[in-house]
Symmetry: C2
């Protein structure tokens, strides 16, 4: 019986004929080596070989995007770009994310037949769904736990991101919890620091949250950054859950997709997936991976929430790219694997308008650090301004106009656009 | 008391003044956010802030290396490159590789103040040595287990890399084990495939190895690729060790540094570290990470063997870069953490000469797949040719000359240089 196949789509740049470069990809990643070896029979190649499915020429350039491509003697100075689809028999590696990566990425980025390579997309057979349960909470579970419907989950990040002691953090979280926020997270720079270990941080934060909820009846969700070595993940998770915490956060690229899948195997609360270090893998357009491929892997491995940057952010990424990321997260994967996109970085009330205009969804987490904490009237007004920003956006009222009758929004605009 | 500090060296490219870009790096990765927030006091910044240690201007270019940098209104069209050293207080994250990565890499690659960023080196305080025991075998332990002294460990990779069944693999390993090889490894594409599960593969391979060692008295080391999800690592390791196997292999970037450190916590045999997917992180010179930084992390996490490509390889990497990688691996890290560099890719007897000439060491593993398996007189002659190639190299005799009196080497030269 023919094995099911994984389809991988690449953006390729090469000084060779595109077809030849595509064959190099398929050969390297299955039965081949640099010279013919005994045993590499036609029937073995047929059954186990990667297969070139489609080659589509795109544009041509005169400068190689990456160093080290070996140009053929007849080279005319042109580097051809194209989209290449290669399929891999699933029975070569089975539904295993770590071994999938060795096949679809592996040594390909080092091939000297290529002057550019980017993994653009992956199509995975349903066997992956049997192996990886994926997010247990996603959008629906997060809404249930936070009690927020019909609008984004409004959140903030503890700032300053490092350096707060128990007293300051307790006071800050208490104030934030009273402010009407739905969600607070640790910064990715703050996990389990020696000066204030996670165990004590959890105790301090949960005390503040409980104290506030006694007054308001609302219990803010706090994503404790439990990033650490594999053994830390279970211990830290248990520390959070036993204290009544309702969310854990990890730096996905620090613990690896394997670490994420491991955590997802036992986590009793949503996993807030931070993608720091992702820039390394994606910022150059002819290298690494697109978010389209990456988010599928993160969802499969169990990220209930997944960072996508924000519109008008402080980072290099274009708004168009961020919008595409949100849309990617919304598309069902193997029939499900819902994750909640997290908009963050340079966000404040005024970014709600463009965010909704471009994405047309409220099923996002919208996080503002300074945008809430540095609101001139304090965090409660910061939260209020975010809600007003979203109300205006969803109702299609320009935020400047809405601000005329909504003070918190007006104050935010005055402060953050001056 | 002042905290110990991690020193990170970056290659930076920016449309701004270099100093300003460097400040953006230090700010983003410690106490800052996009706007001043309450609580970010001077004493907090002093105690927890990242600190700019040194800024050295290098050259200037007219084209940004990476997209998305925001040029200042006054921009004169020049992008400045420089070396920037930033230090981070250890007490912000402690001796934890996953949290170290969030600090020294984190969101930095996404900063729009930069048009290029590469992590070049890391200096770590000794607290990391207390937390991570590192390789338990390294060069010495691998020599002990293989019984090889005074020359490289000669090895091969099972090829075809995928598709062999029990019968073919058993026969191949038996032949290879008789051939005088020191080391055999699975290909990174072949771990625990559904068509031939690891458990059965281990049984098949160990039977062949034992049968051969009954005849020769020598027991070849076989690196079983145990790459998989976190739960698989322990199970697979135990399968190998219980069957008498003496080495396990992992795709480091598939299981993550955290996965590697986890495996190292219990592995009873050397860990053969394959770096596939590394190209994604390093091929562009103004993005990602240099091998100098990466190999420190891999050694800390416990790689007893570490792939470095080979000289005259089939990949894009220059020989100069490969030589530097070997030299990097040789330098003590925190007083130890020895790893054995693994030369691989397009290797055969003829690459010994340049390898020794450039590295002046025999403390390497030298792996040839096709270079041994496709030797015209078979694998035993392939192995013999590798040993002859190294003998000539170490004795300073040109391999062409040595080949006149050494048939296996001559046959290899005839085949692989035609």
């Amino acid at each position: 019986m023919e094995s099911k196949r994984v389809m991988a789509t690449y953006l390729v740049e090469t000084p060779h004929a595109l077809e030849r470069a595509a064959q190099a990809i398929a050969g390297e990643q299955s039965t081949g080596t640099f010279t013919a070896v005994p045993g590499e029979t036609e029937s073995l190649k047929e059954r186990y070989g990667a297969r070139l499915e489609r080659v589509t020429a795109l544009d041509e350039v005169r400068q190689p995007s990456l160093p080290g491509a070996k140009v053929p003697p007849s080279h005319n100075g042109v580097y051809t770009r194209g989209e290449v689809v290669v399929s891999f028999p699933l029975h070569n590696f089975g539904p295993s994310i770590p071994n999938l990566m060795a096949a679809v990425a592996g040594n390909l980025f080092e091939l000297r037949e290529l002057s550019g390579l980017r993994l653009m997309d992956l199509e995975l057979p349903e066997e992956f769904a049997e192996r990886y349960p994926g997010p247990r909470f996603g959008i629906e579970g997060t809404r249930r736990l936070t009690g927020v419907e019909g609008r984004p989950i409004i959140g903030t990040i503890v700032k300053p991101s490092v350096g707060l002691g128990a007293e300051e953090l307790g006071a800050l979280v208490y104030e934030l919890a009273l402010s009407g926020l739905d969600f607070i997270k640790d910064d990715e720079l703050n996990a389990d620091p020696p000066y204030f270990p996670l165990r004590e941080k959890v105790e301090t934060v949960m005390k503040a949250i409980n104290r506030a909820s006694d007054r308001t009846g609302k219990r803010v969700m706090y994503a404790f950054n439990i990033t650490g070595d594999i053994g830390d993940l279970r211990r830290n998770h248990d520390t959070v859950v036993q204290a009544g915490g309702s969310c854990v956060m990890v730096s996905i690229n620090s613990i690896g997709l394997a670490g994420l899948a491991y955590l997802n195997g036992f986590s009793e609360v949503p996993i807030h997936g931070h993608r720091n270090q992702w820039g390394m893998l994606t910022r150059h357009g002819l290298l690494g991976m697109s978010f389209t491929a990456y988010q599928k892997l993160c969802r499969l491995a169990g990220a209930d929430h997944l960072h996508v940057n924000g519109l008008s952010s402080k980072f290099y990424e274009s708004d168009e790219s961020v919008v595409r990321s949100v849309q990617n997260c919304m598309k069902p994967l193997l029939g499900g694997y819902g994750t909640m996109p997290v908009l963050s970085s340079g966000q404040w009330a005024g970014t709600a308008e463009i965010t909704y205009e471009r994405t047309r969804t409220v099923d996002v987490m919208h996080l503002a650090g300074g945008g809430i904490l540095a609101h001139p009237e304090g965090p409660a007004a910061g939260v209020e301004s975010m809600k007003q920003g979203w109300e205006a956006a969803v109702r299609g009222i320009p935020s400047g106009q809405f601000a005329m009758t909504h003070l918190a929004l007006k104050q935010a605009i005055d402060k953050f656009t001056k």
